[in-house]
Structures are given as structure tokens and as C-alpha cells.
């Protein structure tokens, strides 16, 4: 059993809500509410959830692009969150991120060479060496070194995303966080990028955290998957167990809501349609946050927040998790 390469412990990130003339803090949005996750070497951990669940904040908090309020992020024996500025710069070589929006993640004023070469420039690599490295990495992501002289607006969405990936890889990181890397791309281009990521992971043995809202995509790339809701992880486990036998009613509902590109299956499925909307992260419900939409919620769920429990290889935070081979539909029929 190997050691995790990255340990996220009890991470809490809050955004203050300011109101009034003097812009006083009237409350907090708990974007991340006590999140703990381990990332194993060479694995791809998928993180899924809907809007407001905190998955994007998670990615940014790990790299301190957003400063968490408490918790630890352990990498190579040190805590990322307490590193000083030079320590942090060193850590940033190993922990990199690819962003969602291919149109906003590249500086429109700089040519590709400079964008992809920036990480090297920041860490003191010479210009000649940079040119060589940039050419190499552009080739690896499926572009030509000559494209280095062009500007971002000359490329399509998929190509820009490749450039973003190139930038993240040029320092040879051991951990790569991908924040919705294919959400803004067409399906056919998405497939190209997913294949690219898979190849890169195999070649470079990188550990990845793949954040997305598209469950099919996450299933395709992940070894393990974590499901988040309103700032907490509600279920985390290996991909097969999670997709075939979800334990948490939210996971089951989420999977049920995903439309499948297969009419016969779609027709024969029993759909679970959740009522109501995702509660505001500024006013999370008491007890279990999912209880307001949970089809199997009971009294206990209002007063007591469920702790993470281990069962059959997955961890789930629910008072009444679904059992082995039990579906939400069959539970409801009981």
C-alpha cells in the first residue's frame, strides 16, 4: 500500500459576504467545508458535483490561488498552506493546474512561446533553453513548434486548451489539477483532449485531480471519484463501485439525471428527478445538507450531520446509505 502523494486535510475555505454602506461582513459562503481527500501516486481522482459544491474552490485552494481559512495540504512532507513565498514557488513546480476557459486562460497579448515558456522564465531558465523546451512540449501536446510565434486568438478552443496543458506540463509537475478542462469544448474536441491527457498521464506518471460536472467524462478518465455537495465530500470511492453501486442518495440521483446517448436504455430507465434547487451555499441546511432534496431523508438527517463511514471499499457520509446491490429506486419502493 503506497503513501498518498498529496493529502488534503480538513480544508475550509470561506468567502465573506459583504453588505451595507460600510461593506461589513454579514455572513460567509462555505465554499469548502472540512474537505479531506488523499491523492495516490499515478492515479486520476475525479471530483464531481453541481454548481456551488466547491469543486473549483478545491482546485484553487490546494494551490493557494484562493487562500483557505484552515486545514492542511501535505505534499512531500511539507504543508503547502504554510509555506513561505520561496517555499511556495518551489512547490509550484510540482503542483500545476489547467483551467477551464480556453479563451480566458491565455494572455491575449503574448505569443504562445511566451505563455508556455513563462513557468520556465519565472524559475530562471535561460532563453535558449526555454525555446528548446517550449518547442518540445508543444509537439507533445499535438501542436507544431512554429506555432509558438502565434497569438491565442489564432487558435481554436481545443488548440488553446492544448496550449494550457503544455504550460502546465513544462515544469514536469508530479501533480496536475484540471479544473473542468473539457467543459467548454465540443464533444469531438473533448475526446481529443481526453485522449491527450490519458497519454500524458501514462507517459509521465503524473497524479491527476480531474474536476468536472460531466459524469460521463469523469467516469472515463478516473480511477477513483469523489462526489461533492455544498462544500463537502459526500461519497468517495473507486470508479466502478461508485458508478454501479452508488451508496449516497445524491450520487444515485446525480447518476440518474445524466442523460445517456442510448434511446433504448433511456426509455427503460427509471429516473429519479430531484425536487427543488440546490440550496444557497450561504445558508446551508442544518444536519445533512442534502436533506432538503433527498428522497429518503428522515428526522435524524435534520439534526445530525452524518460523518464519513467506510463501507465496501467506499467512504460515504449518510445516515442511511444504500446497501450493496440496492438502488435508490428499490429503496423508495420499500
Amino acid at each position: 500500500m503506497s503513501e498518498p502523494i498529496l493529502r488534503i486535510e480538513n480544508l475550509i475555505t470561506k468567502y465573506p459576504i459583504r453588505a451595507g454602506l460600510l461593506r461589513r461582513t454579514v455572513g460567509h459562503v462555505h465554499a469548502l467545508n472540512n474537505v479531506s481527500i488523499d491523492l495516490m501516486p499515478k492515479e486520476t481522482l475525479g471530483v464531481v458535483g453541481e454548481s456551488g459544491c466547491g469543486k473549483t474552490t478545491l482546485g484553487r485552494s490546494i494551490l493557494r490561488l484562493v487562500e483557505p481559512d484552515s486545514g492542511r495540504v501535505m505534499y512531500g512532507g511539507s504543508d503547502v498552506l504554510t509555506a513561505n513565498s520561496s517555499g511556495l514557488r518551489g512547490l509550484r513546480k510540482d503542483l500545476q493546474i489547467v483551467f477551464q476557459d480556453p479563451y480566458a486562460s491565455l494572455n491575449p497579448r503574448l505569443p504562445i512561446n511566451e505563455i508556455v515558456g513563462e513557468p520556465l522564465a519565472v524559475h530562471g531558465v535561460t532563453k535558449a533553453e526555454r525555446r528548446a523546451r517550449v518547442g518540445e512540449i508543444l509537439r507533445e501536446v499535438g501542436l507544431l513548434p512554429e506555432h509558438g510565434n502565434r497569438y491565442p486568438h489564432e487558435f481554436s478552443g481545443g488548440q488553446r486548451q492544448r496550449i494550457g496543458i503544455a504550460r502546465a506540463l513544462i515544469l514536469n509537475p508530479s501533480v496536475l489539477i484540471l479544473d473542468e478542462p473539457v467543459s467548454a469544448l465540443d464533444v469531438s474536441i473533448q475526446a481529443q483532449i481526453l485522449n491527450l491527457l490519458r497519454r500524458i498521464q501514462l507517459e509521465k506518471q503524473i497524479s491527476m485531480i480531474f474536476i468536472a460536472h460531466d459524469l460521463s467524462v469523469v467516469r472515463h478518465v478516473s480511477d477513483r471519484v469523489a462526489v461533492m455537495y455544498l462544500g463537502r465530500v459526500v461519497e468517495i470511492g473507486d470508479r466502478t463501485s461508485l458508478y454501479e453501486n452508488p451508496k449516497h442518495p445524491y450520487t444515485a440521483s446525480l447518476l440518474s439525471a445524466v442523460p445517456l446517448a442510448d434511446p433504448v436504455t433511456e426509455r427503460s430507465r427509471k429516473r429519479i428527478v430531484l425536487q427543488g434547487d440546490v440550496p444557497s451555499p450561504a445558508h446551508p441546511p442544518s444536519g445533512c445538507e442534502f436533506r432538503t432534496r433527498c428522497p429518503i431523508a428522515q428526522e435524524r438527517c435534520v439534526t445530525e450531520r452524518p460523518a464519513m463511514q467506510s463501507m465496501e471499499g467506499v467512504s460515504v457520509a449518510c445516515h442511511f446509505p444504500l446497501g450493496r446491490d440496492e438502488s435508490l429506486v428499490s429503496r423508495l419502493n420499500r
Binding site: 480566458a104 491575449p108 502565434r150 486568438h153 489564432e154 487558435f155
Partner: protein, 297 residues
């Protein structure tokens, strides 16, 4: 790899590489009012600085025998009430007005950009402090404050420039602050952070180049405002004092003659109006050319 980029496909990836600057230039050149205005503006400024030499008269050459003459070949704009050639005086006045406007713009831009960038990038109490200072300056009725300060310091063109800058930097600061705040949240800035870049590098390399466009537009507007303010103050006798002529105090000197010889009063005024008009068209053209939102189809 079949999904390698086809260099000859699609929008211009086969053609010459177009940097943002070059694209903007192309768009600017197509904006007819802006180009025409730029041309006429340059003509006007050149006239101010060189046309005076065409005449033999000095700006302060008094000749009481030739008072209040109408425009003639010797005196293209006529003479004033003590016989001085108005053409030379107007051209010189234009010079000083433009000079003051330029000085004001440069100084205000320098101060405004620095303070605006600091406020926008660092936020929190730094931003609050600078923003409140800006608000304070803006609340007070400009003309009155200017009048008071101008009285004490503004007799010379340089003094007036200093006074006007002290007021007008706020506009630039606001614009720069807004743009910096907007770009600070952009993902490519986060990406630079994620790679380990220090704030200095981020601001200089990633944020400021995107600010330049908006600042250029604001400078043109500032030039217009500065020249109008200068003219107003000088007209009121609170700005540049004679014998140095500016378009403003030239109007003031001739105002008594408005019934008999309206041209004398209106001529300097025309120059101010046209200057501001051309400057505004220029600003329009710049704004359209630099609009970052126009993505290629």
C-alpha cells in the same frame, strides 16, 4: 497524429501572425472620423507651433496706430485693441494651451496609473484609502477649488498644469483601477500565479499591457478636458496671466468687442472647440480599435 493542427486550415493560421497591436491598428485605420480627426489635429498643432513664423510681427508688438483692424493680408486675423497681431497671438495661444493640456495629461496619467493600479491590484484597505481620496477630490466643486489654487499658484502655464493635474489624475485612476480589478480575476493571471510569478511580474507583464488600451482612450479625453479647463480658467482671469497668451485669455481680452468684432472673440474659441471635437473622434476610434471583446469569427 491525426489531430495535429493543419497549418493551412482555418482563420489565418496560414497567413501572417497578427498581434493584438497590429489588429487594433487595422481596425483604427478603418475608422474614418478618427483618421480624419487625427490628420486635422496634427495639422492644427503644427500650425500652432510653426505658422506664427510666417508673420513678421512679434506677439507683443504694440502698435497703437493699428488698433482693432479687420483681417488683412498683413494681419490675417486682424489686430487687438492695442494693435498686436492677432494671428501670431492666437497661434502662440494655441501653443501654450496645447502645452498645458499635454503636461496635464502626462502628469495626471502617471499619477493616476500608478495609484489606480495599486488600488486595483492590492484591494482591501489600500483600495479603500485611495478610492476615498478620489471620491473626496471629486465631490468638491472642481471649478471653485481650481480657482482658489490657480489664484495662488497658477499664474504660469506650468503652475496651472500642476494644479489641473492634481484634479484630473482621479479620472485615470478610476479607469485603471477598474481595468486592473477586472483583469486580476482573469484566468491567465491566475495561471501566472500558479506558476510562481511574483506580483510585480504579473502586474507588469499581464495586467498593464491590457490597461494600455483604456488609458490611451482616457488620455485623449483628458486632453480635451484639460484644454477646456485651461481656457475657462484663463478666461476667468484665474489661469495663465498675460502677457503669456492662451486661447482662454485671448477670448477674455477680446470679450468687450463682442458686438463690434465678434470674430475676434470667436476665433480662439473655434480652435478650442475643434481641438476637443477632433480629440473626441480620435478617442472614439481608439476605443473601437482597442475593444478586446471583438473576437475573430
Amino acid at each position: 497524429m491525426t489531430d495535429l493542427v493543419d497549418v493551412n486550415s482555418r482563420e489565418g493560421l496560414g497567413a501572417e501572425s497578427l498581434s493584438f497591436g497590429r489588429l487594433a491598428l487595422r481596425r483604427f485605420v478603418r475608422h474614418r472620423p478618427a483618421i480624419v480627426s487625427l490628420f486635422l489635429l496634427i495639422l492644427m498643432v503644427l500650425a500652432f507651433f510653426f505658422a506664427g513664423r510666417l508673420s513678421n510681427f512679434a506677439f507683443d508688438a504694440v502698435d497703437v496706430t493699428k488698433r482693432l483692424e479687420n483681417p488683412s493680408r498683413e494681419h490675417p486675423f486682424g489686430t487687438d485693441e492695442i494693435g498686436r497681431d492677432l494671428f501670431v497671438r492666437t497661434m502662440l495661444g494655441g501653443q501654450y494651451s496645447v502645452r498645458v493640456a499635454l503636461q496635464v495629461s502626462l502628469l495626471a496619467t502617471a499619477i493616476g496609473t500608478i495609484l489606480g493600479a495599486i488600488a486595483g491590484y492590492f484591494g482591501r484597505w489600500v483600495d479603500t484609502a485611495i478610492s476615498q481620496m478620489i471620491n473626496l477630490i471629486l465631490i468638491v466643486p472642481a471649478l471653485i477649488v481650481l480657482a482658489v489654487f490657480a489664484q495662488r499658484f497658477g499664474g504660469s502655464p506650468v503652475g496651472l498644469a500642476l494644479v489641473l493635474s492634481g484634479l484630473l489624475w482621479t479620472r485615470i485612476a478610476r479607469v485603471v483601477r477598474g481595468v486592473v480589478m477586472q483583469y486580476k480575476e482573469q484566468e491567465f493571471v491566475l495561471a501566472a500565479k500558479a506558476v510562481g510569478a511574483k506580483p510585480g511580474r504579473i502586474v507588469a507583464r499581464h495586467i498593464l499591457p491590457n490597461v494600455v488600451g483604456s488609458v490611451l482612450v482616457e488620455i485623449t479625453l483628458l486632453l480635451g478636458t484639460a484644454i477646456v479647463l485651461e481656457s475657462t480658467l484663463s478666461f476667468l482671469g484665474l489661469g495663465v496671466q498675460p502677457p503669456i497668451p492662451t486661447l482662454g485669455n485671448l477670448i477674455q481680452q477680446s470679450k468687450g468687442a463682442i458686438d463690434d468684432a465678434p470674430l475676434r472673440v470667436l476665433l480662439p474659441g473655434f480652435f478650442v472647440v475643434f481641438f476637443v471635437l477632433f480629440i473626441n473622434f480620435l478617442g472614439d476610434g481608439l476605443r473601437d480599435a482597442l475593444d478586446p471583446r471583438s473576437k475573430r469569427q
